[in-house]
Symmetry: C2
């Protein structure tokens, strides 16, 4: 798509999606019961023949039935690909609108386990609409979560009046060692599934169809989970400790801490904070385990608070040991992060482990793709101000990447993500 994008007259049928990147035509969007149209004509026009592959998105995809955006309360899958994008210079408001519509359509198809268009177009002259590597694979519980960064609401696209109320760039936080290459973005995709090939196919095709509108910014490839959802065994992060024991699990907790209420067009959505947290695992591994347990405030194998015996025992931050010292160090991670010590503040975590291979010094380069959801980003800021200033864990971790995104509510059938921005 280019800056020649322009609105075109409405199209009567509610089919609006054609899968391919670059040479793709985009049809009509029916919004709010009124047929309105967005057109994004790529460099290569497609023929009427290929237009027959347009996907009708009026209700047959489960995606549109969900009360909240997918990939937030969804039971955490085993892999996550996270990628952010910047609008390229000259991209127009119409191009952004078209992109969100096309992504919506593609995501609903991908989450149903289908290719986003023809893998092998009937015309020999055509490029594939779908890149093909997920043909024959199951949906693998794929979810795609679209995020809108604060930058989208600057002067470029005339969207300032629709800015989600609490969306703002995160302030500088203690322990930040952010690199621009892994920070920020106008848009983000969190792609989770139980099959890394399904996830890669999704992000690749979504990136591809956005190629003329956005530039890729950064990405992290996560595995293995590092936070539990309801009913899941608590997984372990690469420190070897259980992670997510006290994560939010109940719908009533999500209503209280995650989903937005009375928030205008964002009602039913949420905010996402993502941090790429590098762990110096080789240094950590050289630490005695008794010290690791003091740093975390829990036992390594069972994951019990140092004042308890079992994982789900409530930590007793007042308990003291023989010398009168607290059993759980007040600077331990569990003490600093606990809701009891933060006026009830809590967030929904959805963490994944990652590895970037080997660093320039030959050390294993790995860490945590921390993703969290909350209805007030200040919850994260308050927690991280405290953790970044005092956490005994800081000796072993660095926050090297960061982003904040508004996660719009799931559109109704026939509508698209963020459509309300353009009203």
């Amino acid at each position: 798509m280019t800056d020649t994008d322009r609105p075109t007259p409405g199209v009567g049928r509610r089919r609006f999606f054609q899968g391919a990147a670059g040479g793709a035509a985009l049809g009509a969007l029916a919004a709010g019961g009124t047929a309105r149209a967005v057109s994004a004509q790529g460099a290569t026009a497609t023929s009427a023949e290929d237009d027959r592959e347009l996907v009708d998105l009026t209700g047959q995809y489960r995606f549109f039935d969900q009360a909240h955006p997918p990939g937030v309360a969804t039971l955490p899958q085993r892999h996550a690909l996270y990628m952010t994008f910047d609008m390229v210079d000259g991209s127009t408001r119409a191009a952004l609108q078209a992109l969100l519509a096309r992504w919506t359509a593609a995501i609903s198809v991908l989450m149903a386990g289908r290719p986003i268009g023809q893998v092998r177009p009937s015309r020999d002259e055509a490029v594939g609409q779908d890149t093909g590597e997920a043909v024959g694979l199951a949906p693998a519980t794929l979810t795609v979560t679209v995020g809108l960064g604060p930058g989208l609401f600057d002067q470029r696209f005339g969207l300032a009046t629709h800015k989600p109320e609490l969306l703002a760039a995160l302030p500088q936080l203690p322990s930040d060692k952010l690199t621009p290459e892994t920070t920020g973005g106008d848009l983000s995709l969190q792609v989770c599934s139980d099959d890394p090939q399904v996830s890669y196919h999704a992000v690749r095709n979504l990136a591809r169809m956005a190629r003329d509108t956005v530039a890729t910014r950064w990405t992290v490839n996560g595995f293995g989970r590092a936070s539990a959802g309801p009913g899941q065994q608590t997984p372990r992060n690469l420190l070897g400790f259980k992670d997510g024991t006290r994560n939010l699990r109940q719908p009533v907790e999500l209503d209280q801490h995650v989903w937005l209420r009375d928030a205008g067009w964002m009602t039913g959505g949420t905010y996402q904070v993502v941090r790429k947290i590098q762990m110096t695992v080789e240094t950590w591994d050289a630490d005695r385990v008794s010290d690791q347990e003091q740093v975390i405030g829990r036992t390594k194998v069972e994951g019990a608070p140092l004042t308890g015996r079992q994982e789900f025992d409530a930590p007793d931050f007042a308990a003291t040991g023989a010398g009168g010292q607290p059993v759980i160090d007040p600077q331990s991670h569990v003490a600093l992060a606990s809701p009891e010590n933060n006026g009830g503040v809590t967030i929904l975590r959805r963490g994944y482990n990652y590895t970037d291979g080997i660093d320039q010094y030959g050390q294993l380069d790995a860490g945590l793709l921390f993703i969290a959801y909350m209805n007030d980003p200040d919850s994260f800021v308050r927690l991280q101000r405290k953790l970044g200033a005092s956490d005994a864990l800081n000796e072993y971790i660095s926050h090297v990447g960061s982003g904040i995104f508004a996660i719009p509510p799931t559109p109704a059938s026939g509508h698209y993500i963020g459509e309300q921005l353009f009203t």
Copy 2:
């Protein structure tokens, strides 16, 4: 381990493994029925108490029952972590010997789904022997395949007389764009499993216990498979095409093409060639699919040869079309690589897809972790000479990394990988 490593008198019991890195003691190895000992004393001595955790490796691990090294004929798992290592300056022959013994012991334990030692040592002063992140996870069909690079047989360790007959650095090949950072290595680990956290735990702990003897060199994190084993559906590579349709599948084929016979101490082992093949997937995706099919020689969706209708139809390289031209382009990948056109030469492929995220130009950085096994590395050299010179696919791929390794046979119970090198 340091260059103060020295042989010590034999120890009567056949227990020889203690899991931790750095502070680990290593006991005795019983080899060839004669108790011989290798000792590698780390910087921190461990107490008699922790020595009780020594693992006895005389037969209770399935690893030792296998006729051939694991991870070669094993049905390809869904993830592969590949890492190579160089012996650090000053490492001794004894240190190499101890490392192979300790790796053998650790691998047998890891493949049984157990930690390699105490996650939480009983002594508060001790570091963990196992890093812990796989506690509670199933073995996930983990296999670890140890490779010995040609460099091991230079003057450093006095092993020249034991060099596997056909092990030599690969010659320069057409289309090579190798970078030293992703090429070579004295030792390699191919870690495959169906759970990336299980794989990462394995490679991390094996690297950790080798820390004073070897330096990490390069690593690739593969997913999704790109070659089929017997009974598996043919998976797809990131070109979107099925990969592995004509892979070796039958034991009799492996006997003929993969396993070494009459090869002295290497009998029952094999040779491994690994290539990191970068694919310019965004350029590929911009190519018309009809052209992609000409480049590969197969249809994209079904994977049939262009002369056939179904995936497993035999390609007919003599068939000509309307204009008298061959239906399957002689420069296509399938034509150049087929045994019919290579005097019957064939290799066992065990490929995985990989992604390195985004490159410096913002393009998706992805490709194929090509791993192949053969009883004569010249098979690969001949194939790649031809493919590198002519393959129509070369426009879209670059060989950026490379390695060749001898894969020793599985040791018998009570013995270790490569033990025959030190006789």
